[in-house]
């Protein structure tokens, strides 16, 4: 059985720079190519030199698959393909293909223009990199080459997120990327069929969490925002430009409309308009409600949400601002945060997961004094709220997916080691007895090849059709038994012994002195040289091999002494 080798170059037991190498059936596939938010040095990208020191990557990798457009899953792509050098195909879904370059460009701008980094990939590189992308549809089986095929499944999480099944021959691996098992305001739930892969590589961000119903979360969120706005405070919601942001926008938009609120909602510009445009386009990737109502009104055409200008941050009065990036580590959200942090009327709502080392993570863990660049100390007086809006599956969701796919093995990635330990235990405990319907089964029959046709028939029928007589194959075996009595008596003893041992079988003592067990014949004869030893002749057909060999081993042990 060929082996499947998995090497995580990132996001093995942490979150960020997802990059997993899979060798399956002689094919090498790279799953995701992400960057790490927490680092600004070489550690932010996966170490591609692991793959090869001096050869070209194209020779080693058969394809690259990107699960969705978040930067920790695709951020290193231009670096990888253009700077390290890879010319093979890159697979992603259509929405990912559309949105990915926008995010990469934004990321590049922050890194190069704001932080002044040199030796970073350029806009042209992003464009060149995107030329290598092959877009796939949901449930479309794509033949990468003669043996390797991949297939995408809906994953929820963000627009265009997909899980991929990678198949070579009878071996298959499913990589989930990030996924969400509960639907939200704009996306549906992940779904996979019972594809029974050999290995399921699943994310495990929330391995130890079971979340409350999303309705409570939504209501809580709206209540928090509403209260802060009524107090006259400003609300900052740091988001990644795409994904959660759209969900929260829809949520706030409908709420504003229903409650007839007047406070302005802003969304930091740039990406938004372009991105929202794509959300309007890829209606088929959204949830049931949006898909059904977009003819009347496309939910992504917001009425209350306007573009943000930097000058607005100093405006008096309440407002709600969505700003990027989501972990408060750089960019506009951090700027606004610094402006507003001093006022206790204001509020920041962190709607998702924050990587260690970011400002977001620090304030969430309760730090009230932050050291900023240039030795400034920022005192945080504003309210800090955390809302788990992050669209990852919780422990129950992960278990549900494992149940749906019925894999042979599960590999947990993209999470914390300690939490994985717990989930590992649970999966072992609850899926120990998975039914295995694809297990090979034994079949007796004859394959007839005639007139370039194949037919599988029972052997009797084959014999009949071909006019052949069945060839009998018999095994015979002699067992020496030390028994001074006569042959008949020995046979009788054998008979009574077998009768008592083999209760389920039909044991008969024939008039000619032989004993039969089913179709097995046992005859006793005196040894030609030593009269004290009797020779038992055991004979059975090929079909009764199992019983026959059992019988001989039984007889070799000898007869019980007490039996007469």
């Amino acid at each position: 059985m060929p082996e499947i080798r998995v090497t995580p170059l990132g996001a093995g037991q942490d979150v960020g720079r997802s990059c997993i190498l899979v060798s399956i059936g002689g094919k090498n596939v790279m799953l995701d190519c992400g960057m790490h938010m927490g680092f600004n040095d070489d550690r932010r990208f996966p170490d591609f030199s692991y793959i090869t020191r001096n050869g070209r990557l194209t020779d080693f990798l058969d394809c690259v698959i990107i699960s969705h457009f978040h930067l920790d899953h695709c951020g290193a792509l231009p670096y990888f393909s253009e700077m390290v050098g890879y010319d093979g195909p890159i697979y992603m879904t259509h929405p990912t293909q559309a949105i990915c370059p926008i995010l990469l460009e934004d990321y590049r701008k922050i890194a190069v223009d704001k932080k002044g980094e040199a030796n970073f990939f350029t806009s042209q590189m992003i464009k060149d990199c995107m030329k290598k992308v092959v877009a796939v549809h949901l449930h479309q089986t794509v033949q990468v080459d003669d043996e390797l095929e991949i297939k995408a499944y809906y994953a929820g999480h963000v627009l265009g997120a997909a899980m991929f099944q990678i198949k070579v021959g009878s071996e298959s691996v499913v990589y989930t990327g990030d996924y969400n098992m509960t639907p939200d305001r704009h996306l549906g739930a992940a779904w996979i069929d019972k594809c029974r892969p050999n290995l399921l590589i699943t994310e495990s961000t929330y391995a130890t969490t079971i979340r409350d119903s999303k309705r409570c979360r939504e209501r809580d969120f709206l209540k928090k925002v509403h209260e802060a706005v009524e107090r006259g405070g400003k609300v900052l919601i740091p988001v990644f430009a795409l994904g959660r942001a759209q969900e929260l926008c829809i949520l706030l938009e409908t709420f504003w409309e229903r409650m007839n609120l007047k406070a302005p909602i802003y969304f930091s510009t740039g990406l938004t308009e372009k991105a929202n445009h794509y959300y309007k386009l890829f209606i088929t990737w959204t949830n049931q409600k949006i898909r059904k109502t977009f003819v009347q009104r496309n939910m992504f055409e917001f009425k209350h949400i306007k573009a943000f200008d930097r000058a607005f941050a100093d405006n008096p009065g309440p407002m709600v601002v969505f700003a990027t990036p989501g972990m408060l580590h750089a960019g506009q959200s951090l700027q606004i945060f610094r402006k507003w942090a001093g006022n206790e009327k204001n509020m920041v709502i962190m709607p998702g997961y924050c990587v260690q080392g970011t400002v977001g993570h620090k304030i969430l863990s309760g730090q009230r004094k932050l050291e900023m660049e240039g030795r400034q100390v920022l005192e945080v007086k504003m309210q800090v709220e955390y809302m788990s809006f992050s669209a990852h599956a919780d422990a129950k969701g992960i278990m549900q997916l494992v149940g749906q796919a019925e894999p042979e093995n599960v590999l947990l990635v993209h999470g914390e080691a300690k939490k994985m330990e717990f989930l590992k235990q649970k999966i072992e405990q609850e899926f120990r007895l998975l039914p295995d319907a694809k297990k090979p089964r034994l079949l007796h029959g004859t394959l007839i090849m005639k007139d370039s046709n194949f037919r599988l028939v029972s052997s009797e029928q084959a014999l009949k059709e071909l006019g052949l007589a069945e060839h009998q194959l018999r095994f015979t075996c002699r067992v020496h038994l030390h028994d001074p009595r006569k042959e008949q008596e020995t046979a009788l003893r054998v008979y009574s012994h077998l009768k008592s041992v083999l209760k389920d079988h039909c044991v008969q003592h024939l008039p000619d002195g032989s004993v039969t067990v089913e179709s097995i014949l046992i005859q006793a004869a005196a040894h030609s040289e030593d009269p004290g030893t009797k020779v038992l002749l055991v004979s059975w057909t090929y079909q009764d091999e199992e019983l026959g060999s059992y019988l001989t081993s039984l007889l070799k042990k000898g007869l019980p002494q007490g039996a007469t």
Partner: protein
Amino acid sequence: MAAHLKKRVYEEFTKVVQENDPSVRLKIASLLGLLSKTAGFSPDCIMDDAINILQNEKSHQVLAQLLDTLLAIGTKLPENQAIQNRLVDVACKHLTDTSHGVRNKCLQLLGNLGSLEKSVTKDGEGLAVRDVQKIIGDYFSDQDPRVRTAAIKAMLQLHERGLKLHQTIYNQACKLLSDDYEQVRSAAVQLIWVVSQLYPESIVPIPSSNEEIRLVDDAFGKICHMVSDGSWVVRVQAAKLLGSMEQVSSHFLEQTLDKKLMSDLRRKRTAHERAKELYSSGEFSSGRKWGDDAPKEEIDTGAVNLIESGACGAFVHGLEDEMYEVRIAAVEALCMLAQSSPSFAEKCLDFLVDMFNDEIEEVRLQSIHTMRKISNNITLREDQLDTVLAVLEDSSRDIREALHELLCCTNVSTKEGIHLALVELLKNLTKYPTDRDSIWKCLKFLGSRHPTLVLPLVPELLSTHPFFDTAEPDMDDPAYIAVLVLIFNAAKTCPTMPALFSDHTFRHYAYLRDSLSHLVPALRLPGRKLVSSTLSANITPHEDPSHQFLQQSLERVYSLQHLDPQGAQELLELTIRDLQRLGELQSELAGVADFSATYLRCQLLLIKALQEKLWNVAAPLYLKQSDLASAAAKQIMEETYKMEFMYSGVENKQVVIIHHMRLQAKALQLIVTARTTRGVDPLFGMCEKFLQEVDFFQRCFIADLPHLQDSFVDKLLDLMPRLMTSKPVEVVKIVQTMLRQSTFLHLPLPEQIHKASATIIEPAGESDNPLRFTSGLVVALDVDATLEHVQDPQNTVKVQVLYPDGQAQMIHPKPADFRNPGPGRHRLITQVYLSHTAWTEPCQVEVRLLLAYNSNSRLPKSPWVEGGEVSPQVETSVIEGTIPFSKSVKVYIMPKPARR
């Protein structure tokens, strides 16, 4: 129809059976099946042939079709045990076929014809007693998913036919729950449900532990697990079935709402629990505290069960499912379970309230309706009320009105709650003024349910001041009326309240009592006499005398036979008058009284018509009188249609009497026309038609004929053979004598009977401004009407527009235009398109509602129709006639000539 003809057809068929082309054989087989379904054809004769063909047939498709034919034959002969057994044998033989289609059909046949246990033991002719369940059960593990599904369906069919399924099936069915195919899982869920209903109390072991639980609890857990299945079809199925498992123990039930939250392995409280605590600690309105959702105690990792916990959180999952079909099913199930368990109702409240914010309107509506249904068991907390009231701002009218209905029967716990509700309702009123009536009604009930909570609010609501007189509010302000409706209804049971009223409040009371008497109750005001209300107040507790009176008046009529015609007429007239008066006085008895009065009026008309002198004189001389008689006949017909279709709760025994009366009217019509028309030819057709009617009557009501001893139709049927052969003139003569001899049939009173009625709320018909539109184009007129006690309004209620030129137009409203706000009530909100050629000046058109009927819908349907050749919808939608049942409303319109 002629059976020999069919036989002939069948013979033709058998000739072609030797056909080589399998598709032709297939068609023949299917035709044989159809043939055996037709009435009057005894299919046992073709059974042997069909079985013979079956044995030689090679094509799987034809085999399957033949088995289908055998199934049709078998179902046609449910009494014949030998044939059934034979068919079952045939089916068992073909169960090993390699084609899934054939196995499917075999299983279907077994399910439909497999003998029930009783008959098997009775049989006992040395035949190996087949255990049908065992045979079907073996196919639960067939390799083809379609066959597995068919096997489960067959098992369900056995259950439907009254065979008690073995409990052993339960384990087999449980295995099928993890099948790869959704249709198998879906059917398996049903089977598990069936078994759980059959053996709720038997004990099953929990695998991997020594404990044992009740089967119904185990099944409940398993079905709950299916609520998170991969296929939404299965999820809908599972969620629906959960609702009907009422025997499940309460702690299992309550688990369905508990997802056992945790965060980083520490137990977390749900937002619901936190809200409840905040509320009970009195901190409701305070701001949120930091970190109150912080996880609490550590959880023992071993104790956490992520999937096999069964019922855990099933409804939490179901209610946040991706597909709204699942969510609706879950809400419905929640409703049914909450109705049977008050403690569960209390617990599921939070979840239902959350559903008010669902993104799909249907789901919101459904959850509001659900809440109304369980509102007897619950009291809303203030924070819940807050969420509920927020929905009042919803832009959908249905949602708002459903919410008003809900508030009508909600229990509120505090006076702040009442105040909150009032404020929100008034906000709603200013935002959507069209909701006026609904809001007033809502406040009426809110007031009468919570008098003690309203009492402390009165000074504030009326803005009275202990020392100063305040300005008198505007009497026409809908918001002020709303407040008054609340207060007056509360004051009805709270005698201390009127003391707080100021002078103008009393004046306004008198005004409102007159103008909005249905909203404002009679009050015992100090120093004022109760005007006219004493009467009605005293009558209501004594309901019996009026009922007795009704009985007595009807019994009096039974002696009608023995009176002379003049006396009979007088008695009838008197009784009709009594009944009408009674109906006006007693609204509960109005239905019965009207119904009986209408019947008696028919009888009166009949007697009058038969008393005419014309019967004794030669026909041509009395043209005038026969006019009167034919008018009577026509009127009786109309009245009988009204009796049959305008009352809900009419049972079959009444329908017979009504049809009998109509038959008499038709006979009368026949006689009258026979006397006035010359020539035999038209008469011939009429007689034929009348005899057909009699035949139709006999076919429809064959079971009730014994009750009609000595009646007109009874006698008529006795003479039927003679009538069939005699000449028209003779027929008329016979019918005439029998009609004159016919006796009066008593109308048994139905239990519950209500007259259908409709009120058009909009258009109000008061506008002086004509609706102007360009001729040739259309103008949409909003029609809003409430319908009471109308059955199946989607198919029966039509809107009629009468133009001044006598042109009438009938509009069929869409089924979606009907809403069902409560039992027996419907609401029609639709748009009617008007159009006409240009007029010189504005004029009024009349709009009214009609009730369409079709008396043929009682006819048993022919099997050909069931075969799917004609959709039954087409047949029933044919309108035979209409009955206007609402007052017409005049609308002023003005089609202008088109401008050049």
